[in-house]
Symmetry: C2
Subunit: 462 residues, 2 copies
């Protein structure tokens, strides 16, 4: 999947049209130093800059003049020294050309340009790196503390309205990322076994991505302590009878990302208890997927998945009472404290840097502050072309259980604490896939990755 | 290797004594966002903060009051929410205790503390991340542009004087990193072969580190284009008859790093031409190692290695004339444009963030601005306890060759351009090991990693 100048010109043209007046300033990212400037992490381009230019080079700024239609890249050209040290890369002029931008200007001329073009307004997105705060403060002559509040909601709305609808080329990009992501998961499924370490399997995940020229899109979760939701430790050795939760995906050179979760039995087969809980999570995912449709509130999809989880846990005797009432009260959050999913694209949580109130919510659907719903990244009405993750889960989190029980949590009437206490060493299960919202419903993206109980057990024994 | 409270207390006590008066402010690092705040790169602690505390936690600041001897950690305690999401980690109080610090204060109280203790001076090291600029600007009430020049040379001198001398525990830490680094290199040597891709081998390097609970200490170089000195592309497939340059090392959980380079023949055996050049690089390394001794200028060691390279290339007919005169004129820099080595410890280029004029040079030895010498990171007199890399190389860089030849470079009298032009597809060779400077000379750190021609060919065929 290769985008061409027509694509980028069209995207930029539409953005200028939507914003209407003034200058649009989109700073690309710089290098991020680890312990000293000369030792950066691998480079990650700002995804909005990438969407409108396709340029993977640090320290370049895109300027669009909505009034004149002029497009300029401000950056510094590659030097001979750079070529000796870094190899023969495309010049900035070459990159501009591929992106359809012919006007390239040295970065140090940007402040003067902005001073001359600051009326009626300079639109910029909210900064999420300290380097952006400093750059914008310098460029605009504004105190650094005033930079965040000066961001342009019109610009953010315009960007979101373009980026949230994935073109078929973008869907190809996402499916390419899922191809590599599938290999990453299947390698873990084939190699996970008692005695193997989490570090070994995490290394396998990284190697599978790297050997395809990709990276991992975020710090992988590869853990027998799946109930720790953002567990970035890899200190355990797999033992018989555990569940291994793997949440990871590929980041392709194009910038498109993958985000898949699977939970597998370390022994190669699920115990009856594991199978029962696993099936509830699968059912919740299936119920959510059935509801995907343009016009449907994602918050409603989330709550339907919650209801499915409560019904399942009630059947197992862990919960009791009316399922809808339990969900209304938030009783499910003891087991499922996070949200059902988020958009995905050039970011794994697509456009999260632009602000959830613009990306996941809108004027009609506001984010809740309640435990559980406050972690739902997407609540608004679905549109054709959205790509979303559907990732229900059930976790037994001892700290949370003890906290609820000891404080006699208002939801206690829905909970059978005695029975739950016998599950406290269970761990956690999450199952996550990506779906494209199209006019008839939701379509699974990428080739299927083993997910049904039998499929998982089959690949683990292969 | 585990440091204890006695070590950290002694280090901090010595630092306060050396600085003498005022407040010492050592900010730890925060998380570094990739595309949005919630998706950071893996965490890297500031190495000076780590040296004086051992604490691997983001957003903590160490304050030492030289006048009263008081030691305070400013940071925010781990919450229940954090435990649910991130797992049961040590609290800040626990970490402080392990480090010998009992006074823990909330981060938001630091500005007031500093306002009350700003006299006679607040000493801080030079900032190298944008986040440090912002933090120091806020904490000290100084304009962000004034922060860099306000750093304390007295503090930097004191830190360097401690960190440059490695204790035996630190040497153990470095050798532990070299143990993993050896495995990383040997795995590549065993698997490199025509048809394998650089991405595959780079993935193998990462996996070997990760599976041992380590990380790579810097972006690995794994390339058949070894003449590109900082080549972070992995786009080639190995072909018969090439040289593969691998420059990578482990970063351990302790923070200690490894930095080893090997150059191996893709075919499993060196050609005669490759062997001839390889042996010159080995000889240059050996000549440098023989000179390691407390009191010897590292710049002199570098120049001796350059002389060895010129002598070798003269024997091959690529250079001509008097070797010392050629080195004096800088003729070797066509083949060897970088420096012989640098200190290594908690940073791979140890303390590079503190400034080369304090770390690698001093009042008697100033850094040269000449091509070649300007890339020498360490020039000053060696002391017992220094750990340094010794990494000579010979590269055939077509861009540089054509530039020198077409501009009739002043060093042309020393160069046989006709003969050199037949080597332009040779690539590059570098060989790098780490040495401890002790009273009798230099000691190789870590178990030897295959390096002699026969050793390399043996492991590749094993």
């Amino acid at each position: 999947m290769e985008f061409n100048t027509t694509t980028y010109n069209a995207r930029r043209g539409e953005l200028m049209k939507k914003v209407g007046r003034g200058i649009i300033l989109l700073p690309g990212n710089g290098e991020s130093p680890r312990n000293f400037e000369g030792n950066p992490y691998f480079f990650t381009q700002d995804s909005t800059f990438l969407y409108y230019t396709g340029i993977q080079m640090p320290d370049v700024v895109l300027v669009l003049d909505c009034d004149s239609g002029e497009t300029i890249l401000f950056g510094n050209e590659v030097t001979l020294d750079h070529k000796i040290w870094m190899g023969d890369t495309d010049s900035l002029v070459d990159m501009g050309q591929k992106s359809g931008i012919s006007k390239i200007v040295a970065l140090d001329r940007l402040p003067k340009y902005l001073a001359q073009h600051s009326s009626p307004k300079v639109h910029y997105p909210p900064p999420y790196r300290a380097e952006h705060l400093l750059l914008l403060s310098t460029l605009l002559g504004v105190d650094v503390n005033g930079v965040p509040s000066g961001m342009s909601p019109e610009l953010v709305h315009a960007i979101v309205s373009q980026r949230e609808i994935k073109s078929s080329d973008e869907v190809d990009g996402l499916e390419e990322a899922l191809g590599t992501t599938k290999k990453m998961h299947e390698n873990v499924m084939r190699q996970a076994a008692p005695g193997k370490t989490e570090t070994y399997l995490m290394g396998l995940v990284e190697q599978t991505a790297l050997s395809k020229g990709a990276r991992t899109a975020y710090s992988p979760i590869v853990s027998v302590r799946g109930e720790i939701l953002h567990n970035f430790n890899y200190g355990n050795t797999l033992r018989e009878g555990q569940l291994l939760l793997g949440d990871f995906g590929a980041l392709m050179p194009s910038g498109y990302t993958g985000d898949i979760t699977r939970t597998i039995p370390t022994s190669g087969t699920f115990s009856t208890q594991q199978k029962e809980v696993y099936q509830i999570v699968l059912n919740a995912q299936e119920r959510a997927v059935q509801m995907l449709q343009p016009g449907t509130l994602f918050k409603a999809v989330h709550l339907a998945a919650c209801t499915e989880i409560v019904e399942g846990l009630t059947n197992l005797g862990l919960m009791r009472g009316n399922a809808e009432a339990a969900v209304e009260a938030g009783a499910h959050t003891l087991f499922y404290p996070h949200g059902l999913g988020h958009m995905i694209g050039l970011d794994v949580h697509d456009m999260e840097n632009l602000g959830e109130e613009y990306v996941g919510y809108d004027t009609t659907v506001k984010k809740s502050k309640e435990f559980g719903l406050k972690s739902l990244r997407l609540g608004k009405s679905l549109k054709q072309g959205f790509v979303v993750t559907i990732e229900p889960g059930i976790y037994f989190i001892p700290e949370l259980f003890h906290h609820w029980k000891s404080t006699n949590h208002p939801c206690s009437e829905f909970l059978n604490y005695d029975k739950i206490s016998s599950y406290l060493d269970f761990g956690g299960i999450r199952i996550e896939d990506e779906y494209l919202v199209h006019e008839d419903g939701g379509r699974l993206l990428g080739a299927p990755i083993p997910k049904q109980v039998q499929e998982v057990e089959d690949i683990m024994s292969s």
